[in-house]
Amino acid sequence: MDGRRLDELRPLKLEVGVLDKADGSAYIEHGRNKILAAVFGPREAHPKHIALADRAVVRCRYHMAPFSTDERKSPAPSRREQELSKVIRESLEPSIMSEYYPRSTIDLFIEVLQADAGTRCAGITSASLALADAGIPLRELVAGCAAGKIDGRVVLDLSDIEDKKGDADLPIAYMPKSNAIGLLQMDGSLTEDELKQALDMGVGACRTIYEMQKDALRRKYHVEHDEAEKEEIAEVKA
């Protein structure tokens, strides 16, 4: 609809470590989605009674800014946001080695500044980078992307206008190395074959996004060697 191929992603921009006070943070632009994610922790559980003896408690809040949508959204958490907070947490928790931090919490905040369909998936992509930026041991990065159906055809990564006209939406979060799907939702109408096709398409896109995530981390944590150091390294190698 916007000139993309059926299986083409919208343009993505990922940036790691964008906030000063958070332990880890990341910013994503996915199409016209603009989303910030921040991680605090591992830190002492508060209130204490929520602590678990053998692992960290992971807490997650997905929230949309009042100005992020066409009509103003009330800042109070909606039922949709509460559900998404839960499914996003359940998609990221499998990647976190929370057993290393008993009696503590890892708090994850996702703020949607501008929404353009696929916010939960873009939120997961950025939140996973924020977790890595916070130095929390992860089994793997988690990438998110949705597939769907519009005009009877299975397509990747619906934008807002497409989503409203679309016949189905299938958000996925995926960890490529362990071949593991941590988030899967669907609404609309798909036949069994269409669903399988959309699933494969979404999983493929998650693999692409996963590579972009790794690049974003490298950009942030790539160590710049000055000329003297480079010579030194060259000498050692020689």
Partner: protein, 271 residues
């Protein structure tokens, strides 16, 4: 904010035993991996509701009631009636269900049931428009969990469907901008019959319709809701584990089959 749940109340040893039984391809209640529990559907148990249905799924008991009232339509759908689904995890159903505003579990359940009904276009909402942009019928579906022995989503979905099928509303006409009710009653304009099927993963085993103990040892679950043409209309993964794409495809295929069986069963009850 959504937080990691407190650990299962089952003793570790008990969990291990249940886990090992399932991984061997058996169930603690002697069912096979793809066997559904005994389903009993009773329609019209609450006379004051427009429609009601009680579902017994093994020892899980769920009651759903439908109320039809008038209201103003949403600005983006001026020609359509409104569907709202709400779920109450009533404190008498389970020791840790508490009073107060709905928690994330009941919100998730209500929204999954809602998506199944909405996305399958089970109700012809355009027929529930009275005066475009001004007045429409609002269909409230309230799901009451009465006894929790696992697989609440499926039980709630089928109770909601039963209550909608059972619902009767007063016949009406619009005269001079006013709604006039007639004496006769008509059923809700139903177009589809969505049935949710939940499968959970324990170890690498997939089992359908988990009982409570099985849910307490599962790594994750997947609910697939299918309509009458075998079209999938809603899905929801839950829990802290993960599925492989192959497992998901397998679950979708088996859920479509299972949903067909149960729809026939519910259909025979209704007609």
């Amino acid at each position: 904010m959504s937080a990691t749940h407190q650990p299962s109340p089952l003793a570790k040893l008990e969990q291990k035993t249940i886990y090992e039984i399932i991984v061997k391809g058996k169930r603690i209640d002697d069912r096979g991996p793809s066997d559904y529990r005994q389903l009993t559907l009773t329609l019209g148990t609450v006379e004051k509701a427009n429609g009601s249905a009680q579902v017994y799924l093994g020892k899980t008991k769920v009651l759903a009631g439908v109320k039809v009232q008038t209201g103003t339509p949403f600005p983006d759908t001026p020609n359509e009636g409104i569907l709202t689904v709400n779920a109450e995890f009533v404190p008498l159903a389970y020791p840790t269900f508490e009073t107060g505003p709905p928690d994330e579990n009941s919100i998730e359940l209500a929204r999954v049931v809602d998506r199944g009904i909405r996305e399958s276009k089970a109700i012809d909402l355009q027929k529930l428009c009275i005066d475009p942009g001004k007045k429409v019928f609002v269909v409230f579906v309230d799901v009451y969990i009465l006894d929790h022995d696992g697989n609440l989503i499926d039980a709630a979905g089928m109770a909601a469907l039963g209550a909608l099928v059972n619902a009767k509303m007063q016949e009406w006409e619009l005269k001079g901008g006013e709604v006039r009710y007639k004496d006769s009653k008509i059923p809700l304009p139903m177009l589809n019959y969505p049935v949710p099927i939940t499968t959970v993963k324990v170890g690498n085993s997939l089992i359908v319709d988990p009982c409570l103990e099985e849910e307490q040892v599962m790594s994750c679950r997947l609910t697939v809701t299918t309509g009458k043409d075998d079209d999938v209309c809603a899905m929801q993964k839950g829990g802290l584990g993960t599925f492989t794409p192959e497992e998901i495809k397998q679950i979708v295929s088996s859920s479509i089959q299972k949903s067909r069986d149960l729809r026939t069963k519910i259909g025979s009850k209704v007609n």
